[in-house]
Amino acid sequence: MIRSEPPALLTGSFSQASLLRLYHRFRALDRNKKGYLSRMDLQQIGALAVNPLGERIIDSFFPDGNLRLDFPGFVRVLAHFRPIDDEDPGIRDPKEPEPLNSRMNKLRFAFQLYDLDRDGKISRHEMLQVLRLMVGVQVTEEQLESIADRTVQEADEDGDGAVSFLEFTKSLEKMDIEQKMSIRILK
């Protein structure tokens, strides 16, 4: 069922105008007018297909083995990338769940790009896998392993040989996450 307006329940994350834009984009990507997106629809985006982390990014839209991406799911992932300064933190009701674009949630999004098996830790093996995606065939296995080892060692505090989410956030304390993981939709 294709509606010409986005479903109402999503107001509260993006502005109405932005939601409309995203809805048009969703419809444009849905080439066969199925009403949902498949992995193939996202893979057809040229700039995404050549992105070294393209497959991982697509994975984040299809969690738990889902095969269909509906519009709320689409917005949920994109909401992680809303700039943080868009809302005034003083007004937010502390009882409500943390907004998707908070610093924590942005970091969580990045973390799950690494943590394939969702066990809450980035193992050395998972680190190697992501590195391999980003460098392709340009770097030898030994060089890559030493990079992975060094990175895990630097971040690993409790010595379990893997990087937990807290260790991850700690090592990125000083990083300007807001700027690096934000996409601003023009008014």
């Binding site: 057809q44 070294p52 690096k180």
Partner: protein
């Protein structure tokens, strides 16, 4: 009875009017200046309408205005800056942020998918509203087009092989069709018009491209044999000028195609071949990768750039959305088609240049001339997945950064 007589009289006077005003001048290539007046009127009306609309701004037109610019704020800095600003630094956990941000940006908006939706107009152009004039003009246009088709069939089909006569009739019919579409075409650099025995190469926006080019000269067409309406038109055209048609199965055999084309251009008496190397319609703002097949044939290439003025009508044909007939109807009922055609000096393949480089050179020349942006993406990307070479580029850049400095 009176009513019928009156209707009959009106019809006959109208018919005579049509014939005098359109057929005769077309045959002699003389313009009565009506088209120019019509254009001026259109421009004035559109400007007035735009101002009116801008005064009473609605949400939709606001969105449309900014959508044509791009909906997200982009940071176009190269990979090095995006990652940290220092060259030769080591891998960090945060490097994924750069790639994931670029990936998400692509999901929200990317160049290729944008190219394939109709170019959004900043000034709203009345096509979505109706008024009395609109209906009247569309009826007139349809009648003229039908007349043109009839003339074409009745005159072209029983034609004998007198070359000059057939060229004249051919040109006349084309001009009629163009009038039917209320087209105004400006030809530039006519001295470079493709000569016999050459290959004419142009960028492709709509099937009307063919019409526009043939109005100014006779070409031999290369293409598939189509069924349906296109097939009938094709057969009619073959009688006028000798074309090169292929069955679909023959098209798959590239060598066969190349051989036949080579034969055609070797014969200096034959008309220049018209080829659109892009292979699919692009929406008038960019020139996609030219397929190299056309450039392997050899011979002289005469590039032609075609650019439509989008203010007057959207000539773009999205073949996966509209079929031929509905597209033609849309074209009939647009206000007008205005376009510019630039003929360019002939180019030949240079020493040590392979077909791909030659194709790119011609593509750049056409893009520059027509004021279109060049895109490296293959037009077939619309329907197919992309090659891995582009991904390798990014991977190479990244690897150079984290490994190249010898810190390991």
């Amino acid at each position: 009875m009176e009513g019928a007589e009156l209707a009959g009289k009106i019809l006959s006077t109208w018919l005579t009017l049509v014939i005098c005003l359109i057929l005769l001048p077309s045959a002699f290539g003389v313009s009565l200046g009506i088209s120019e007046m019509y254009m001026k009127l259109l421009v004035k009306t559109l400007e007035w309408a735009t101002i009116r609309i801008e005064k009473g701004v609605s949400k939709e037109s606001v969105l449309k205005n900014s959508a044509s610019v791009g909906i997200i704020q982009r940071d176009e800095s190269p990979m090095e800056k995006g990652l940290s600003g220092l060259r030769g630094r080591d891998f960090e956990l945060s490097d994924v942020f750069y790639f994931s941000k670029k990936g998400l940006e692509a999901i929200v908006e990317d160049e290729v998918t944008q190219r394939f939706s109709s170019e959004e107009l900043v000034s709203w152009n009345l096509l979505t509203r109706t008024n009395v004039n609109f209906h009247y003009i569309s009826l007139r246009l349809t009648m003229v087009w039908v007349l043109g088709v009839i003339v074409r069939y009745c005159v072209l089909l029983p034609l004998s092989l007198k070359n000059w006569l057939s060229e004249l009739v051919h040109l006349t019919c084309c001009r009629i069709c163009v009038r039917a579409l209320s087209g105004t075409i400006h030809y530039h650099n006519k001295q470079y018009r493709p000569q016999k025995g050459g290959i004419c190469v142009a960028n492709h926006t709509s099937p009307i491209d063919v019409l526009i080019l043939t109005t100014d000269g006779c070409y031999a067409m290369v293409g598939q044999v189509h069924g349906g309406l296109m097939g009938i038109i094709q057969r009619a055209m073959v009688k006028a000028c000798p074309h090169v048609w292929f069955e679909r199965s023959e098209m798959k055999d590239r060598h066969l195609v190349t051989k036949r084309l080579k034969e055609h251009i070797a014969d200096k008496k034959k008309l220049p071949i018209l080829i659109f190397p892009e292979g699919t319609c692009i929406n008038n703002t960019s020139v996609m990768m030219f397929k190299k097949g056309s450039f392997e044939i050899g011979g002289t290439i005469h590039p032609v750039a075609i650019k439509y003025n989008p203010q007057f009508g959207d000539a773009f044909w999205n073949s996966s959305k509209y079929n031929m007939v509905s597209y033609l109807l849309r074209m009939m009922t647009s206000w007008a088609i205005v376009c510019d055609v630039w003929y360019m000096p002939p180019m030949t393949r240079e020493e040590g240049e392979d077909a791909v480089q030659f194709a790119n050179r011609v593509k750049s020349a056409i893009a520059v001339q027509g004021g279109l942006t060049e895109l490296p993406w293959d037009g077939g990307l619309k329907r197919a997945k992309v090659k891995d070479t582009f991904k390798e580029e990014q991977q190479k850049n990244y690897s150079k950064m984290i490994v190249g400095n010898g810190s390991l």
